[in-house]
Symmetry: C2
Subunit: 625 residues, 2 copies
């Protein structure tokens, strides 16, 4: 089927159908070898994949980082056998590897992930996420990279019930992403039975058309129709295209075709099914390579000059974030920023004003915002995405999957904690530290002053994995001089003596509170140590261990729920079998209402007065020496 | 404007406009008194509210629990001044209380919550959630309560960017919720500037129509048009109606009308604005009371008979969940179940088969599933909503807001942890315990055997707040006899002696592993205590404290990330200033791939062999006596 490294336009429809049958056979074989997997969901999309590979996809499998490569995202990630069968058909993996599917140590996991396979763009398997991330990649291609690549996303029909699909649809048409094609494998059957709309392609077409997409409805098993649809998608300008393909789940085998109850199950009699599909083939398809292209984001714009902040000034860390990000954007051409329609609050607007070409307004669609960040990061950009800390919970599953992808993205949550004041609990990020700490390989930062914020904003850019920065709404005093450094994983000891009777550990808005408490206690003759734990994860075990050994008791103080945040992080530092200090945690334990920031901190028991009282009690009760 | 307790159909358009002006004036006054708040977002919707109250809404403000009451949800929760102004206009609050807006101790929070105000149906303030919860209420009305009430939801235009709105739109039309009316206050301006579609009502109408809604486009300041639109909504059968109202933000005051940059800010010169609006009024509007109606969910169907399980059998806890839920449904008429298109996996299908009239298929739309649960709970039903534990992260913000509402809902996450095996990390719930523990007032349960699961399923029904149950995919041995009780907040000591050298703490799938490890250690002469910590929150501090005092060292073992889960919960139990035991935590620290369940547990270091090795090491190092 191939000649010299370009899509062979002379390949016959018969050959395409044969290739599709091979993809089916190999899907059945892989799942049979594994004893699990989703062959039937693979079989429905075989022609969709075969025609894409042979006639439309442009990709250099030897150079997955080629800037001109098209992108393919398997949004219906459970159809991984189809993807791996395709990798075999293009020669990227061999037949032996295909049969390692779902086995310990294999690159061919149940759902594809880029951490293991260089040709996978983003981890999928949580439905409704592939198209949103594909939108992020198409956004990179359209607005930044401009190397002419196309993004092809293969979706299932069931996953169109996810709201995230419609956030993506809205964003893609608003940004005129004509380099994006969504291919929907409408096989009518979900996991436990029929989908809402079955084979009613018009139902889906009406929705996508209303959202501004060009729509094409086809028989997904007619290779000629598929070919024409892909051509129509590629030649449609100014809007993304969705191809709605009527297909049959388990197509090609009488025992599985269009039948319920077979989702996620290997085909029962695999040998018989393979025979029915015409037996094992070893067709090879050459995918056309992309034209030469240059990486745009390698360009660095200039020297990094972070904004200076004066000790004694009062500056909100969200302001410092905006200023630092704008400066970072001037210093580095690979920095991009995204926001969820609150850039005037998060201060991402400072970046937007200075670097409008690298700013992405995502409106109130936090899932799509994070997906855009993942897509941009997959293309080599360094994204900072911001909204209120509370609303990042909306994108929890996207953050989780970004970690599965190994994506390097920066997420910034403003308006953390009860300290926001009057707006009340719906706007207060009180669970964000718990959420981000539990993400695999994450970094969690919570600065207390402007200069610290600025340095952390710069430092997080080149860190691995999910980086989270928590900022605050109100002003806090600048307590660090301009030369202070804040390594990720470090902490700052702000008060220390040989007579410390306990240690106060804080971060962010509670740092000024513990300092005030320490001063009050000091006036009463009670010396305490104070640690600013700006790096919540990784955590500075050595400094905490030293404080524990020297003072015997730690009080953690956080503007966050008592579970999963600063207190838990500090406790974790001692879960190594060695002696553990006595520990008391001050955190937000009630459901706040509306009140001033000061009233809120007091009501939650995390203001200077409450902290001093807790410390005093421990000293009086002789819990501490 | 009122006579004897029914909507006064003779009220003139002029009177309606006067009422609208009063709502504006009172919105301006409340925000001025607070020094914060969203008067401009209130002013755009004044006529929409005035006409609803005077002519269409049926509600007994003295009996907010009246089964026949219409429901009103302020999806754009930041427009709370409008809602509170309306409460004043109907006589539910007085003018003095209105002016306590956003102050410490006031019921009138920045965003409305039912925990404080009896007429608020659900907490709003995280945009895109009011309509989904309204769908849940309309679902209750249509399929269960059948008392004829209508659900009216006032949305902002900005929030239509949230995917959750489209999950709701899809669900509402699929369920033919003609008792639901969405009113969209299209004021063109979001927080930081114009929305995507500005005043293009057609853009929204196309989308809703494509999703199967009846659409009406009007001038939202024309009381007559508003009145006719509401009438049209009420008389439209078989589908929900959306009223798209063209409005002006800050309407009625030249300094604020249709101007950018005034979101979330009190009107600058309030006195001048009030004068421009015609001054302070004290109009009262009588809302028509609903007809007599009976609460349906009070009916109990019969005797509760939980399924019996035999010690020594192997049963997956997800199977036990399905069986117990079906039995609970037979025993109680107020139990309802929801699932995210995976009921064959979660086993919610057992309930669905026995009680189809009380089962709600939510398809792959986890946000809407949780919103439906919140809406059903608001109407007195006791919902159990299930999907894979991993995918409940999709609904994190809805769970957070449900806690703000004080909603009582049961959420069940199956396929937890690496123990699911081959499917890989996208399907593994590894962050769910952290997420649910950080939710205010939550209950977190993680049973290890079938009988324990069944009893906990029954016990959680009548608990307060968010109740989370974690189930497992694979079979585990039934270790408890049928008479064993499992109080929430308790634990079970499975091995104990006077010579225990350390304590193994586990829950769920790691319980059989720690038991096997304990047996192996016992054969080597090392006695260890074993605790089954099935209630992760609240936690059994007394038993843990006793084990700590008697054995000195705890090893926690969990099929979850090391942050925020079982290990943190155990540590938390000791954060009270008293001595803390030495502690070692075994948890999932890497990103798993595909492998068998046994291989996964071993790779994560949480199988019997790894546990015994860790215990042995501690004993050999003489860390423990």
């Amino acid at each position: 089927m191939s000649d010299e490294g370009r899509n062979d336009v002379t390949v016959t429809d018969h050959q395409l159908s044969e290739l599709a049958q091979q993809l089916r056979v190999d899907s059945v074989r892989a799942a049979a070898a594994a004893g699990s997997g989703h062959p039937t969901s693979s079989m429905s999309a075989a022609e969709l994949m075969a025609v894409l590979l042979a006639r439309h996809f442009r990709y250099d499998f030897e150079r997955p980082d080629h800037p001109g490569n098209d992108r393919f995202v398997l949004s219906k990630g459970h159809a991984s056998p189809l993807l791996y069968a395709a990798y075999k058909a293009v020669g990227a993996i061999d037949d032996d590897e295909l049969l390692t599917f779902r086995k310990l140590g294999s690159r061919l996991e149940g759902h594809p992930t880029p951490r293991r396979l260089p040709w996978v763009e983003t981890a999928t398997g949580s439905l409704g996420q592939g198209l949103p991330v594909g939108v992020g990649m198409a956004l990179a291609g359209k607005r930044l990279d401009r190397t002419g690549y196309r993004v092809w996303v293969l979706c299932g029909d069931s996953e169109l019930a996810e709201g995230s699909i419609w956030e993506a649809a809205e964003h893609a048409s608003f940004e005129h992403l004509d380099n994006l094609t969504a291919i929907v494998d409408v096989n009518r059957l979900g996991q436990r039975g029929p989908t809402r709309h079955g084979h009613d392609l018009d139902a889906y077409a009406r929705r996508f058309a209303a959202f501004g997409w060009h729509t094409v409805e086809i028989d997904g098993h007619d290779v000629d129709a598929v070919d024409r649809a892909y051509g129509e998608a590629a030649s449609t300008l100014g809007q993304p295209t969705v191809i709605l393909a009527r297909t049959l789940k388990g197509k090609g085998v009488a025992a599985t075709e269009d039948r319920e109850g077979l989702h996620g199950k290997p085909v029962k009699d695999a040998d018989e099914a393979i025979e029915e599909l015409g037996g094992i083939r070893d067709l090879r398809v050459e995918v056309r390579k992309p034209p030469a292209a240059r990486v745009m984001h390698a360009a660095r714009a200039g020297h990094l000059q972070l904004p200076p902040f004066q000790t004694g000034d009062e500056v909100a860390t969200r302001d410092a974030y905006g200023q630092a990000l704008a400066a970072l954007g001037s210093g580095r051409g690979d920095i991009v920023a995204l926001d969820g329609e609150v850039s005037d609050s998060t201060r991402a607007e400072y970046f937007a004003k200075e670097h409008p070409e690298r700013f992405f307004e995502c409106y109130i669609a936090e899932q799509q915002m994070v997906a855009n960040a993942v897509g941009l990061a997959a293309r080599g950009w360094v994204p900072y995405a911001s909204t209120f800390a509370a609303f990042l919970t909306r994108a929890h599953d996207f953050v989780r999957m970004a970690a599965v992808s190994g994506a390097g993205i920066n997420l910034v949550g403003s308006h953390a904690g009860v300290a926001i004041g009057q707006d009340g609990p719906s706007q207060m990020g009180l669970e964000d530290l718990a959420m981000f700490r539990s993400v695999h390989g994450s970094t969690v930062l919570y600065p207390c002053d402007a200069g610290q914020t600025a340095k952390l904003v710069a430092a997080m850019a080149d860190h691995e994995g999910i980086r989270y920065l928590r900022t605050s709404r109100g002003k806090t005093p600048v307590i660090y001089g301009p030369d202070e450094e804040f390594p990720i994983g470090g902490s700052k000891v702000l008060r220390s003596s040989g007579r410390d009777r306990l240690t106060l550990v804080a971060a962010g808005v509670t740092v000024p509170e513990v300092l005030a408490a320490a001063d009050a206690l000091d006036r009463e003759g009670i010396r305490v140590r104070v640690i600013d734990l700006y790096s919540v994860k990784p955590i500075d075990r050595a400094t905490l261990r030293e404080a524990a050994e020297q003072t015997g008791c730690l009080i953690t103080v956080e503007d966050h729920r008592e579970e999963g945040g600063l207190g838990d992080a500090v406790l974790d530092a001692f879960a190594d079998g060695r002696p553990v200090p006595r520990l008391v945690r001050l955190a937000v334990r009630t459901m706040p209402g509306s009140a001033t920031p000061e009233e809120q901190l007091h009501a939650a028991g995390i203001d200077a007065e409450s902290i001093a009282a807790a410390a005093r009690l421990l000293v009086e009760q002789a819990v501490v020496p």
